[in-house]
Symmetry: C2
Subunit: 418 residues, 2 copies
């Protein structure tokens, strides 16, 4: 089955890659209209998934991620219309030049190819990825969670009608319409049919893809994130950044996991952190030096950090606290424990900021800003397909341009190589 | 064993990534001097490999690839000195800007990480890759062919002395000093120790890496390359380009495999191709329409093309010939048979050139130029580690910049995400 889908995707990719910006944008707008026009059918299908999920005992959080409603559909339609307004990266040229022998050389952006996207419960990802693929002229094979099968079927019908209405191949966006988990493995082995696998989900999914894929994988999404509070930091404002990074949306990958505080500031700063964040429901895991500076009135708020705590992505209102002797120790701690997703420094010392930026090699390195900004929308990319923590092709947010590759175009006057 | 090497490479990567351009260039110059100073020891070690190869029955071509001599060592030393003169991509910034909220955002080039390079008989690759890795601040684990073990040991001693002399970690460039093939598989599984696998060798090696690696692989190097001769082509000059693309160095991946000729030109052009190339020893595989236009005096030079001939990378003085009804048929043939390495058009028609460039999606697309230009040196990159035919991260020549990735640097004034 997947072999056939791969062949059809490969064939559909060529007309997608050549489609004009106007056609792609028109298809996106039609898709947005379709989502609104078909809302009753989509919501009815989604209700079947939701009640099956409730019967099956899905957690409240998962049911919430699974649920669509009129407001969420409007948001999705608005995102699709916004995508149509963004510049098209396909066709852009760069590194243009004339070589000494007269050859005219340039690189030209082309779509990446056939994307294999594997994701979990949220049905909005289906339209999100379909929209990004259409905009960038890629084809895609989607594999959503089994608990969203009815919702995804209804959404895919709208996608395929939008493609067809603008003369684009319906096979450009295909959906693995089956709950059979063996098909995930089959997708990962589809070396001729798929150019890149983009998993969107937890650490287990990313590891599984990396271990079993014969296709390049963009892994990511797992963030053990740090903020180092330098001795020169503005204490009041640092508290606000830490509060934001930890509590604004604790369940996502760019939320803060560990605060490292310079020894000189620890006695003043750590009690203030506990005081400032506990009203939001934050609990703390502190290493001995951090525990030691908390006054008796606050020490009960923090538990001693266990051996794995500084390697844990909390995804919840837990915050690790550690005192460091120096910025060197902070940088060493980050090198040892960070997943290279989002790490930052809070400081008033420009030299320390420079050295931190030079020596911390994470996908995004922050100076005096919340880790929550590591996001395609927040960094000005307009949209994102995933956040990469691997080093090849893309680091951090994968926006439109990161969904392209390039070809070399070399024009001569019947040049031969000497 | 490889686990330990991976850990040491990972540790050595950090000081490499931070090393100044001056230090890296000084190490390259010392390495060049060392190659010349140690020439007697290197050549003695190489002689052991060569005589073992002769006893073991290696082909003359392989013995030639394996052999070092004073002239080749001088060439290698000159390449290392040239590498020292090239600009350092590490630290370059791009996409710099200020967002509406005042965040200052940029991307900054950083080394790719730990490279795992697997290659076959040529010992010069050892210094080639060592030099590229030093220049770009990467670490590397090298796995050369078992038939070059003594040569590689002697070369690696020079590399490690050059690193140490400039305060760089000797573990930055490590060599798997064993003929055990199981270690290749172990290297491919070293997900924590290696960031990218770069195979340099034949199609079998690339396939093996793709199938077994848990680490991203830059596959490439296999080229079934085409030139399409449009009806408007300048016949005389087209012959020279085809002659160059086929015969200048037939054993490499960017040499020409198939000529596609527009029907209107075939009767004139194909006999001229056979006439022009057979003195160089070229033999031909022609499909029926191409055979039909050869005069009796030439038809014996060509055999009928077999079913797989148009999917064969010849690596030798064999050339496929095919007549097409139109440029569309040429583009379809290329889409079906090309490995997306190097394909071109010979034409005087600017509109046809534009359409060919738009529709042929190969790593390098040529207009009126030999496919032999798909090479880092020829395209102005100064050096290359490999030629990629996959779509992720790099297409075509992998030069210095392609051996880097980037990190996002985000500087704010204690910004929080609303």
């Amino acid at each position: 089955m997947l072999n056939e889908m791969g062949k059809r995707a490969r064939a559909a990719f060529r007309p997608m890659a050549r489609a004009s910006t106007e056609t792609k944008n028109a298809a996106l707008r039609t898709l947005a209209e379709g989502v609104m026009a078909e809302a009753p059918a989509i919501l009815a299908a989604n209700a079947r998934d939701v009640s099956a999920g409730q019967v099956g005992g899905l957690s409240e959080a998962l049911i919430d991620r699974l649920t669509l409603n009129a407001k969420r559909l409007s948001g999705i339609a608005a995102d699709l219309r916004a995508l149509a307004e963004l510049p098209d990266p396909v066709g852009e040229t760069f590194d243009e030049g004339v070589l000494p022998n007269g050859l005219r050389v340039r690189r030209q952006r082309v779509p990446l190819g056939v994307l294999g996207v594997i994701y979990e419960s949220r049905p909005n990802v289906t339209l999100d990825v379909a929209g990004l693929a259409i905009k960038t002229g890629n084809a895609a094979i989607l594999r959503g969670g089994s608990e969203t099968l009815h919702s995804n079927r209804a959404l895919m019908a709208v996608v395929q009608r939008a493609l067809a209405q603008h003369g684009l191949p319906a096979d450009a966006i295909q959906f693995i319409d089956s709950a059979d988990r063996a098909l995930v493995l089959e997708l990962l082995q589809l070396a001729d049919g798929v150019d890149v696998i983009i998993p969107r989900g937890g650490a287990g999914l990313h590891r599984f893809c990396r271990e079993h894929s014969r296709v390049p994988v963009i892994t990511g999404g797992v963030g053990v994130c740090h903020l180092y509070v330098d001795e020169s930091a503005d204490v009041e404002r640092a508290l606000d950044v830490i509060h934001n990074a930890k509590t604004q949306r604790p369940s996502v990958c760019n939320s803060l996991d560990t605060v490292l505080v310079h020894r000189a500031l620890a006695g003043e700063f750590l009690p203030a952190v506990v005081d400032h964040l506990r009203p939001a429901g934050v609990t703390f895991r502190a290493e001995p030096r951090a525990l030691a500076v908390l006054p008796t009135s606050l020490v009960s708020q923090a538990s001693p950090a266990g051996p794995d705590d500084f390697d844990t992505e909390w995804m919840s209102l837990v915050l690790g606290l550690k005192v460091v002797e120096s910025m060197d120790e902070a940088i060493e701690h980050i090198a040892a424990h960070s997943t290279a997703h989002s790490d930052g420094i809070l400081t008033r010392d420009a030299a320390n900021a420079r050295r931190f930026v030079a020596e911390v090699d994470s996908a995004a390195v922050f100076v005096n800003a919340s880790t929550r900004f590591n996001d395609g929308g927040q960094l000005g990319l307009g949209a994102e397909a995933a956040v990469s923590t691997q080093r090849l092709h893309v680091r951090g947010p994968m926006g439109l341009r990161e969904l392209t590759t390039y070809k070399w175009v070399v024009e001569g006057d019947y040049h031969v190589r000497p």
